[in-house]
Subunit: 350 residues, 2 copies
DNA sequence: CTGAAAGCGCTTACAG
DNA sequence: CTGAAAGCGCTTACAG
């Protein structure tokens, strides 16, 4: 350590961290010496002594998908601004099953101050683990277990998309988005399906079971699902895909089948994926990176609250605590319809 | 700690880590108790005491691009297999400049055993910092400073792509890929441009300066570069884009201009991006995730070597060390031409 | 094979 | 405002 600079380690510690009880003069000297030696405090020792790590674990199921990597970026930038670093917890999937948080978290749990969980469907044992860890948790995409959450209004987004198709005169509309029961581990926003169904019902339109397709949310998933959907004798005049990646897959299959878009088939997605414009895809845009940023803020708040619970807890009568502070914060990001060329009126309505 | 289990902390430590000097019986008991208490050793304390952290920092310029997130996944999975965790060092870019490793590394440097650097153009001061840190470093994409590196043979890949176009009869070929001097911070594989030039020269074809375009390696970058390229009076009959994302942008612009592909314009890229097939894009495939995995392996080797340098160093005469061990390992991943519909013979050759 | 002791590099009350 | 002391939870030689 840099005590060779003339003072005690305690003073160095205080000076470098900007704590109050140091004279300006001493602080300046310490800072200068530290700079010259390019000294950096060891975070491990600091966290051992202080109990805080300044690290946040981010649990993410698919690092390589646009949505997840974008959320991650947003969160990372926000957290870094406050001096936090991101430790990756990639829930790589092996075949149809994914690695469990039960295996993933142990090397991480004592190294982080909080956990950010992106759209993961948690098993009961995983939830139990998370609770036992007693770390602040924030989720993105789908509310879970009463933890604070950042997401969009999936019902409204799906409703907007569905209405858009209905307004064009479509009646035979298919939905691609994953029957929740089929999804192994990603917590799909099942509200999107609910929004679709509700909007169809409100317009007096039937939803055919064969036209509600489970899909793994990837481009290739969209390709194969669309093949099933569009090759039958009866085919819909429009498809609402719950993600742009699936929608792109649908467009690809439609093109291979010689279907004209939007005359023979309209397609709408959700996301406004960075490549959606290449396919002239109409979609519901959501601010993905911003959601990550908001999640980062929520997490910072949660860490602060966990660090100083006595601030407004101990000083008040016991009953006071729960009513105000306990409400799980639910932040809803705005969405908007992005009109492009993949939707239009059906060529032979009805 | 779980010494409530009957033995000393030292024994617990040895038992749980599988060290030799413990009886099978004791070990079993300790493991059981630890399991019941769901005890996990604190990595911070461990690293403080042992000097090893089991964490690797990954420096990545663009988290949201397919290439980088795929490499990251590959590396992460490989590292996790050996008990290592990934700490993210995202070099977010602010406008035309990026945040410096000088700011990024301090919170990370004492927390990691090694550093993986993905295609980043390092400034002299950053290189100096990296050297001073004395951590094992491995790079991906572009060899740097003699550190071990995983990449593809960029010259060969570019040569294959260029030859492919020439074989179709193209003579007027443009290159999109970033003049190295224009690139602020990503270490573009300038070998690709070199490979292009060499192959053109070998066929006696001229390379026009206006047809070698700097580009930021994104889809939108490809769109705008192509607009510049294809609107002029003189336009090439083929474009070789150094990445699929740029190539997709070119295809988009070509379509808007009413050019037929491949009759009016052939386009080839490099990557075999997961969405390349949607655009029927001919390309040079590279195994991206695998490269990440290989980089992870190299990093593990480097960590092991750093941990036990005396193993074959101290026991030999001094001169022995350098010759054999110092060679920087350079792993080259294979590439292959993926033939799709975006390339063909020009409609009016010559 | 096992335990007692020292120490990793910080931070945190506690005295001055 | 500053320093001396204890301790964070492990690991590592060193004795038994």
């Amino acid at each position: 350590v840099a005590q060779a600079a003339g003072v005690s380690p305690a003073t160095v510690s205080r000076a470098l961290r900007g704590l109050p009880r140091v004279s300006a003069e001493t602080r300046a000297r310490v800072q200068q010496v530290a700079g010259e030696l390019s000294y950096v405090a060891s975070p491990d020792a600091a966290s051992l002594a202080s109990g805080r790590t300044a690290v946040v674990g981010v649990v993410v199921p698919f690092l390589a998908r646009w949505y997840f990597s974008s959320v991650l970026i947003g969160a990372e930038m926000q957290l870094r601004r406050s001096g936090f670093t991101v430790l990756l917890c990639h829930v790589g999937n092996v075949g149809r099953t994914r690695s469990s948080l039960l295996d993933l978290l142990p090397p991480v749990e004592k190294r982080v101050d909080a956990l950010l969980v992106l759209s993961l469907k948690l098993e009961p044992r995983e939830v139990a683990l998370l609770r036992r860890l007693d770390l602040p948790v924030v989720t993105v995409g789908v509310p879970a277990e009463g933890w604070p959450c950042v997401r969009i209004d999936d019902v409204a987004a799906a409703s907007t998309a569905t209405s858009h198709l209905i307004d064009f005169g479509h009646r035979d509309i298919a939905y691609l988005g994953g029957d929740p029961s089929h999804d192994v581990h990603v917590a799909t926003p099942s509200d999107r399906l609910a929004g679709f169904r509700a909007t169809m019902a409100a317009s007096g339109l039937p939803v055919r079971d064969e036209w509600v397709l489970a899909c793994d949310w990837t481009v290739t998933g969209g390709v194969t699902a669309a093949a099933r959907l569009l090759c039958g004798a009866q085919r819909p005049s429009a498809v609402f895909a719950a993600s742009d990646e699936m929608a792109m897959g649908v467009l690809h299959t439609a093109a291979r089948l010689g279907l004209r878009v939007p005359q023979d088939l309209s397609v709408i997605g959700i996301d406004d994926h960075e490549m959606a414009f290449l396919h002239d895809l109409t979609t519901i845009a959501q601010p993905v990176q911003t959601q990550g940023q908001l999640a980062g803020e929520l997490l910072l708040e949660a860490v602060a609250a966990a660090a100083a619970p006595s601030a407004d807890g101990a000083s008040r009568p016991d009953g006071w605590r729960s009513p105000a502070g306990r409400e799980a914060r639910l932040v809803t990001a705005p969405t908007s319809l992005v009109l492009r060329g993949s939707t239009g009126a059906p060529s032979c309505p009805g």
